[in-house]
Amino acid sequence: MKSFSLLSRGTGAAFLAPAGLLIGAFVIAPFFWVIFVSFTNRSLLGRTAVDPDFVGLANYFSLFDAATFFTRGEFGSSLILTIQFVLLSAVVGQAALGMLLAWMLRSVPRSLKHLTETVAIGAWILPEVVIAFAWFAFLDYENGTLNMIMEALRFPRGDWLLSFPFWAIVVFNTWRGTAFSMMLFNSAFSSIPPSYFQAADVAGASSWQKFRDIGFPLIRGHVVTDLILITMWSFNVFTPFLLTSGGPSYRTEILPIYTYRIAFRDFDFGKGAAVGVVVMLINLIFALFYLWVMRRRAKGVAA
């Protein structure tokens, strides 16, 4: 029996169709396609470009080959590098710095708050190639702003991208992404009724005590959300490529850059796909965890 609704089932399906097609073709199909390709020796050129062979798990064996796993420029070393990169730049860098900023911004003069927010958000919204170039100039050995400051402070100059490439991209990614955590925590803090803090003020609590006893416990759910999101983003970020191209000698070759090199420099699509599958599996774990947290919160369980 037909029953009234604002949009009939048929019209609803028609409304869903365009988006469904696009998502099907460019999100869902790639998901399955990459799994399929990872079992082949597909390449860009040559016979295997048109007629790849099924190679079973060979690509995965070569990724997890114990003999070369930890060799620089191989999958294992890139994976470990990525984990370090994510832990340092996202969890320690972005989240901690964002939290610190969000908390401090609550009690600094308005103009300073606005200025700081503006530059942090600038770092976050400007196009990645522009940011990469700005950092390239910033870190330049001869004339870069950083070395200029080092000199003024009577420290030795550094050729940062050559001597400390990994730390360069860690700091770079922290700088680039902190604004998100800062804004998230900022809005989380301002959703706490001011009277909670005022009551603590009356009781004579210090800023640290207020943070530890009121602010942090009440936004714990947001911290979890933030950590999952920024971890996922940093895990998939390609931007450091624009600063270092993965070098020197693979020392900044995090997984997205490694995938790119295998697939589009070495043209080994099969192996590149296998890396993609591993990355997606790790993404999946984070995404499921995230959805689980969100649903739990939607159901009203205090997160």
């Binding site: 029996m1 037909k2 029953s3 009234f4």
Partner: protein, 369 residues
């Protein structure tokens, strides 16, 4: 204008029965109020008339058209929503004229008509404003204007006054009453405010848990509530209800309860049928029929003074009995009433309502059933 007929209408949401086997007839030109507590199915009933919900079973007629499955746009109805549903991106003129726009009226013509209606509702000077720029009372009138701007067979109202403050509500209620007298429209009006229903309706349908428990003109509902539920719902404060022991002896009905004295009553046929010889009944007396006993009253009830509220032209005196039941009297006087710790209230026999143990009214002989 047209009549409305519900024939055995049931509406389920999943397993939950929101409206159950409803048979209801509303005559052409009637103003019917659906009255009942929250969640009893009033809005669902109204939305079925509008076509915004489809009955799970049964048949719905407007005039002699079967509209059970008709799309809302084809039903020739108007509706005022509880949240007004004014379109935030249109000014008042466009809001009010929107129904004419979808009917293909030319812009000049529909704005002229909108202005006409708006003038009647005293919002004609606001036509260029956006809904966010006018007061709650003006928003309410705008939504009313949008419902009145085109001819409809049936007008539907879902608690249209519930978002207004008390004073505006009275004013708007008076206006609606005036409008109904003026237009003689067929209207169905949902409210949980019994005073609103009494003031506006030609007939009130009191609902409880998806069923209509009484469908009668307001004074009938007030004078002869069909059940204790209705008695409790209509009237402010509601009717006082008290369980009593009843016996039929010496051709008279004797009612007994602790610290209550009731003169023997004539045995009505309904009481005789309900009681056989003796049993429990519920005695009901409206607060406005109680007074402070001065001695010599036929019927009295006593207890400890609980509250003595001064409301200006009237006083509410509440006593509490030993079983914690309370009895409230509504006394019309300008004087301050001084009372002892123990209070006795009196009432006359003609104001007694009786209900059987299941809560159904026991009509007096000669009372229309």
């Amino acid at each position: 204008m047209a009549s409305i007929r519900f024939k055995g209408i049931t509406k389920k949401f999943g397993e939950f029965v929101a409206v159950s086997d409803l048979d209801l007839e509303m005559n052409d030109g009637e103003f019917v109020c659906l009255l009942g507590p929250s969640g009893c199915g009033k809005t669902t009933t109204l939305r079925m008339i509008a076509g915004l919900e489809t009955p799970t079973s049964g048949q719905l007629l407007i005039g002699d058209r079967d509209v059970t499955f008709l799309h809302p746009k084809d039903r020739k109805i108007s509706m005022v929503f509880q949240d007004y549903a004014l379109y935030p991106h249109m000014n008042l003129a466009d809001n009010i004229a929107y129904p004419l726009k979808v009917r293909g009226e030319a812009e000049a013509k529909r704005h002229a008509r909108a202005r006409e209606v708006a003038d009647v509702l005293k919002i004609g000077h606001l036509m260029e404003r956006m809904p966010s720029q006018i007061s709650g009372g003006q928003q309410q009138r705008t939504s009313l204007a949008r419902a009145l701007v085109y001819p409809s067979e049936v007008y539907l109202f879902d608690e249209p006054l519930s978002n207004l403050d008390a004073k505006l509500r009275l004013e708007a209620r008076g206006f609606l009453n005036h409008l109904q007298r003026d237009m003689g429209m067929t209207a169905v009006y949902v409210t949980h405010d019994q005073a609103e229903a009494m003031a506006l309706a030609t007939r009130v349908a009191v609902m409880d848990a998806g069923k209509v428990v009484q469908y009668a003109p307001p004074m009938e509902v007030y004078r002869r509530p069909a059940t204790t539920f209705v008695a409790n719902f209509v009237g402010s404060p509601p009717m006082n209800l008290l369980p009593v022991e009843a016996t039929i002896a010496d051709g008279a009905l004797q009612l007994k309860a602790d610290r209550v004295s009731v003169a023997p009553l004539p045995v009505s046929r309904s009481a005789a049928a309900a009681l056989k010889n003796n049993g429990k009944l519920t005695l009901g007396v409206r607060p406005e029929h109680l007074s402070i006993a001065r001695g010599g009253e036929a019927n009295t009830v006593s207890g400890q003074l609980f509250a003595n509220e001064n409301m200006g032209p009237e006083k509410l005196v509440t006593l509490e009995r030993d079983d914690a039941a309370r009895f409230t009297a509504r006394i019309f006087t300008d004087d301050v009433i001084a009372l002892d710790a123990t209070v006795t209230l009196g009432f006359s026999s003609e104001h007694i309502h009786l209900f059987d143990p299941a809560g159904a009214r026991l009509p007096m002989d000669g009372e229309p059933v």
